[in-house]
């Protein structure tokens, strides 16, 4: 695969940044990769494990001379980071991000960037329950989607180049506008995460069911919720605060449906329940056919320890 950028700067060195680094190395997509993280500890870890060709002690130093700057920080601090790096950006450079919310990031970052710098927001739809510089791996984006959300009038060549980077990192790339992105993600990711966090919190509160029982007997259902609810708290706090309207709208619809199903349980309306559960099966089939999950019957059991 051909090199896409001469110098890439990663600002923030968590799961996504570290995975992108290893994916760029795997594909030979970048010349030099610099990196910066606010925490001393993260920078020390990055140096220890060889994450980035050069770990810098300031964001300004990291972005100097970079033709691509990737903001990999929580959504809530994107604006502050953009303000910090803006004076140091090279003319003609592209700034992108990996945040889970797009309209708010555009509003935060856009005003800080100078003329002649291309701003192309992006969102790779990939993750694990782990976070931090040690959690990355080159295959994270393979066969996953990366959504580009360019603002109107963005340079076509700059978009094509960023697309080439993400495709080189293994992702399938599509373009979408910011409002639509935020609604789609509220349905497919943000609301489900809040719901999973809630259910795990309920279990934790219920003292009659001891912690150890909830943990021991979590074979079905709840275990998947705990995986979702183990995601990075700072990242998710920011997601909910910055994609507030779409998330609250979806949660409102969710509550309405849940009340209807609760009533069916209370009144013993088995036909209603059966019809509902039959309909939801079809969506699952679609996801498997779209190659976004496996239907192996021993799903997730392969790496079990004993």
């Amino acid at each position: 695969m051909a090199q896409v950028y001469d110098r890439v700067a990663l600002i923030g060195l968590g799961l996504i940044a570290s995975s992108l680094f290893w994916a760029m190395k795997r594909g030979g997509l970048a010349g030099e990769v610099t990196g910066y993280a606010r925490s001393d500890e993260t920078r020390a870890t990055a140096r220890e494990i060889g994450l980035c060709d050069r770990v810098c002690d300031s964001a300004a130093e990291a972005v100097k001379g970079a033709d691509l700057v990737v903001l990999c920080v929580p959504v809530g601090v994107m604006g502050a980071v953009a303000a910090e790096i803006a004076p140091h950006l090279a003319p003609g450079a592209t700034v992108t991000d990996v945040g889970s919310v797009k309209a708010d990031v555009i509003a935060q970052v856009g005003p800080h960037l100078p003329e002649g710098v291309h701003f192309i927001p992006a969102h790779p739809l990939a993750g694990t329950e782990h976070s931090g510089p040690r959690s990355g791996f080159a295959e994270l984006f393979d066969n996953r989607w990366c959504l580009l959300v360019p603002v109107e009038g963005t340079d076509k060549d700059a978009i094509a180049r960023l697309r080439a980077l993400w495709e080189g990192a293994g992702a399938n790339v599509e373009e979408m506008d910011a409002e639509h992105h935020d609604l789609v993600l509220a349905v497919t990711s943000h609301a489900p995460h809040l719901i999973a966090y809630t259910m795990v919190g309920v279990a934790d509160d219920l003292r009659r069911v001891t912690d150890s029982e909830v943990i021991k007997y979590s074979a079905a259902g709840f275990r998947d919720f705990t995986r979702i609810a183990a995601s990075d708290p700072t990242m998710w706090r920011d997601v909910f605060l910055t994609n507030k309207d779409a998330t609250l709208e979806i949660l409102g619809r969710f509550t309405e449906e849940l009340f209807a199903l609760q009533r069916a349980i209370r009144t013993g309306d088995g036909d209603h329940l059966h019809a509902y559960f039959t309909r939801t099966r079809a969506i699952r089939r679609g996801i498997i056919e779209a190659g976004q999950d496996t239907d192996a019957p021993d799903f997730g059991r392969g790496a079990r320890k004993s």
Copy 2:
């Protein structure tokens, strides 16, 4: 491993029965295994794939001479099946089941069984999103829990023997009383399933987000919900109708918590959200330490097709 029962009858031939059959064969746990399913098609499939040593055309025939009868039918029909087989049970035989609800099954089945037959309700905490006779595999119960819920005064030797069967099939066995079982399962399985079904239904209803987008971009969160929401509709309808009180209680608490988090989003209370999400992480760690899931960073990606 030593043979535990001379003749085992499986009534109902879905995921759990077929997995138990293959696990018994793997471990040499049973002499002859007979099987019965109400549907002609299921019996034909069972004969085709060698599921059961002998597939019978009536439940009465299947249980004749069996020293263990395992009811593997949806919870809602346990009573009817018990009534059907009761006159044909051998003296000293053990009847057990694999239903996800226990108090209701005891109330349904118990009254039908004759003196001298041991009734030991059980619940293996294992499953996949698949159902039917072709979905079983010998490893389903390996390192999973099987809960025995014996009624008071049950013969100790009969319990020990059933325990030996499930341990031979790979499971860890514990005893629990029926009411506690139903509450624990409402938290760890029943409420999470209803919530997952609901969220998938909401996504399906939301016409602005097309089906294909929900499916394409389901990388995080929602994908896990669809896996849960693809479970067998008949089984789950019966679970909710027969474990009504505990499920509704947990759903009530869930709604209360969800409203509190929604309010935190609406008012921008980031500290509340962050503290909540931090707390739920600890439960996840416990599950991994308990060996009930893997924390491999590429969880579930191994069998991906392309």
